[in-house]
């Protein structure tokens, strides 16, 4: 272990959440905020002018997309494979049906659950080719945590060799941290030292209103009810941690431990009970 090195930090609000960047020996972290804001504005479903909204609006046609959106859609297909379809970004119709039609800070919309049904397989409704994507009519994409995890990984790679990027709880810790033994990261009430590892949390405790919440179970199209309330995971990247955490929460308390043991390096499973 080496003596503490000085750590620069920068905190800001973006992507509808709180973001933080930490770095050893770095003084231009404001650039990270600019990058997150620029990309976030293109990937949000809450702005009619965003790149993602254009894809969601022009269904049935091949829509030109940027290299970043293409990479995130590729990641979404990988998430679909890793989770056997449980992490499905074609979740927008369900989000609208449960009333999540605008930023959460503006309050929920009206839930109309009558037409809800299981989500179609991602590969059936979303196609990707170089520089273009096509979405089937009646479908829509919400990138959610997939984008945050991907962005944390990508941003940390551009910032330097010894940084942590935390975008609303989806984070990647690159390098050995200020003392050389890893970056101290809180997870499940404990501190873990992470080196070149990501972490993420999936929960039904936040962004909920009445009986509704934002985590949709693709098997029903409804907000998930699995017996687990919160899952936090350490994995090889922020993106993988996000996928594993969400999949484990959707699998429920019986299957989540085995899934996490196969895909995660550390995990916190909470069913909301105190015992």
């Amino acid at each position: 272990m080496r003596p503490d090195a000085s750590v620069e930090s920068h905190h800001f609000e973006a992507l509808g959440t709180s973001c933080s960047v930490f770095a050893v020996g770095h003084s231009h972290l404001i650039e990270a905020e600019f990058w997150v804001r620029r990309l976030g504005a293109r990937l949000t479903r809450f702005s009619a002018d965003s790149e993602l909204s254009r894809l969601n609006r022009d269904t049935g046609d091949w829509v030109p997309i940027s290299a970043e959106l293409q990479a995130i859609i590729r990641a979404a297909f990988r998430a679909d494979e890793m989770s056997a379809g449980l992490v499905n970004v074609a979740v927008l119709p369900s989000m609208h049906a449960v009333g999540y039609t605008r930023p959460f800070t503006e309050g929920p919309g009206v839930a109309t659950l009558e037409d809800l049904r299981p989500l179609p397989p991602l590969a059936d409704v979303l196609e990707l080719r170089e520089g273009e994507a096509r979405l089937q009519a009646g479908c829509g994409v919400d990138l959610g945590g997939i984008a945050k995890g991907w962005m944390a990984d990508r941003l940390s790679a551009t910032l330097g060799a010894d940084v942590v990027v935390n975008l609303g709880g989806d984070l990647f810790a690159r390098g050995s941290g200020p003392r050389g033994d890893g970056w101290p990261v809180g997870l499940g009430g404990s501190t873990l030292l992470l080196r070149d590892q990501g972490a993420a949390t999936s929960s039904v405790r936040r962004r909920r209103w009445g009986e509704m919440h934002h985590l949709i179970d693709p098997r029903t199209g409804l907000p998930a009810k699995t017996g687990l309330e919160e899952v936090s995971v350490v994995a090889a990247s922020g993106f993988e941690a996000e996928v594993v955490a969400k999949t484990a929460l959707l699998l429920g308390p019986d299957l989540a431990p085995a899934y996490c043991a196969a895909h995660a390096m550390a995990w916190w499973l909470s069913d909301g009970h105190d015992d």
Binding site: G16, T17, N166, G186, L192, T201, R207, W268
Partner: protein, 76 residues
């Protein structure tokens, strides 16, 4: 007669050596102390701690600490 004895002795020696080698090999299929054994195999046992509200399991590639966290993963 002497030739016959020599052939018999050589055959017996060969068969004994073969049987002894086979016994030795079958009783030493794997050396647990082999230096090239991946350390992950011996450290694969993760530790689980039940805490208030949930269970934390930490695998061998993550080190717990008593330090204050610099940042945390959380639901947003």
């Amino acid at each position: 007669m002497r030739t016959f004895l020599l052939k018999g002795a050589a055959t017996a020696l060969t068969m004994c050596t073969t049987v002894a080698s086979a016994l030795f090999v079958t009783s030493h299929l794997k050396n647990p102390a082999a230096p090239l054994q991946p350390p992950v195999l011996t450290a694969a046992n993760s530790s689980s701690n039940a805490a208030v509200g949930g269970t934390l399991t930490v695998g061998p590639s993550v080190q717990p600490s008593n330090a204050e966290p610099m940042t945390s993963t959380y639901a947003s």
